[in-house]
Subunit: 261 residues, 2 copies
């Protein structure tokens, strides 16, 4: 065959796909050294939440974020550890966050980090020993996104409470960190593709991340998207593209960066 | 929110991704009706094969195909059922194939369907009740690919003995069939992307499937590929493109069909 003794057949940090299994089998590599899958704690916050199997009273909504995050964590190769809905009290929030940081490599909180009455979560994180690196980002959706570290080697994200923002920030921030922790050498990079239709927005003070569809013609089309509460916009999306600060239009034919999802 | 009572939130036949989980959770759909995962029997044939954990004697090689197929089946959402290496005898081959057809929805045989001395497999399949639809295809790699049906609703493929051909034919034929059996509405379609470099081949009597790399510039580059035994060619590939019969060159800049893998 085409392999000689002493050849390097797979680089350290390769994400193992079926074709790599064939290469390993052909050289008798039956016990490869692999990375541990990171354990990801997921905490929902907000007294307005009920679980999907419960019937919401008026002013309540079903918790969809946590289950979306569980699926995103699994797809990215991690082990999800759902810790439930933490009630809006300082004591419960503190103990839940402390327990989560102890048990997991990364903790994801959804909700509780924007500026409402009960958004005391960042202060509680600080009390629990989290070194908060930032509390918001100039992006849309996902402005109220918090990131901190704990004990040098643990990480915590406060993700926005709505599913579109939470989905997007997971893909943009959490997934790359998970791959890094697993020692994967090459992180997925955006691909440059042409716009198949023109996209316009009115405000341009934040960098915007848009759900898009990559169609068979190899071009990128915006999907119907009514803002960050529009959970349906991602049903037909197979990519995310971005519009920079100060930019209002993506012209038809213009090359844009797209991350397949 | 944006959903009214009576709205259809997800089409029948949707392949469930994390964003669909959020939609289902938000409407309290906790027990969705899902398709059964097809069970895929995998049989290796060939007395020259040893398992990857064994040390091959001269004239023997390690079985890499079956383990690659197991990984491909899992990635495509099926349940692999590895039935071992069937020795090159008519009795054993007959009983292994019969058992596999009974236990599984699809059977994949690797090796044994080209024109060598011991390639009695198609005759045995016919004896076992398989209605053979074709025994070869005008494609490269993967010419000796067999396809048959059994008992109306079961399917059997004889895949080529080398890993590159086996990999390619699985992606082109077996995976779409699995998705159909699972009732998935939209099969993955190739995307049109421009060639980033010129590709030439000498013979053009068969349709050729090439491993390619889709780079960050959104263009398609051929990967080094020395023919169907060159198992390493797919290590760096993230797509498959095709060259039609009669066509010798893909010009730089030409739009080609690419299936991401």
């Amino acid at each position: 065959e085409d392999i000689k003794k002493g050849d390097l057949v797979l680089e350290k940090g390769t994400c193992i796909e079926p074709q790599h299994i064939a290469v390993m089998a052909s050289v008798g590599c039956n016990e490869p050294l692999v990375s541990k899958q990171p354990k990801i704690g997921i905490i929902s916050t907000g007294d307005e939440l009920v679980e999907p199997f419960e019937y919401p009273a008026q002013s309540q909504i079903r918790n969809s974020n946590a289950y979306q995050l569980i699926a995103q964590v699994q797809r990215a190769g991690g082990t999800p550890n759902y810790m439930g809905i933490a009630e809006d009290s300082e004591e419960v929030t503190f103990s839940t966050i402390s327990k989560a940081l102890e048990e997991n490599d990364i903790v994801l909180l959804t909700g509780g980090v924007s500026m409402g009455d009960f958004d005391f979560v960042p202060d509680i994180m600080a009390k629990a020993g989290v070194d908060i690196k930032f509390r918001s980002m100039a992006v849309q959706p996902g402005k109220p996104t918090l990131f901190g570290t704990f004990d040098q080697h643990k990480f915590i994200f406060g993700l926005p409470g709505n599913p579109v923002s939470s989905y997007t920030q997971f893909e943009l921030l959490v997934r790359p960190l998970m791959l890094k922790l697993m020692g994967i050498r090459e992180l997925p990079k955006p691909v440059k593709l042409p716009m198949g239709a023109t996209y316009k927005r009115r405000k341009s003070v934040r960098k915007s991340f848009l759900p898009v569809m990559i169609r068979e013609d190899g071009k990128v089309y915006p999907v119907e998207y009514h803002g960050s509460a529009h959970i349906h916009s991602y049903v037909f999306a197979n990519g995310i593209t971005s519009v920079d600060i100060g930019k209002e239009t993506l012209e038809k034919g213009e090359l844009v960066d797209v991350r397949p999802i």
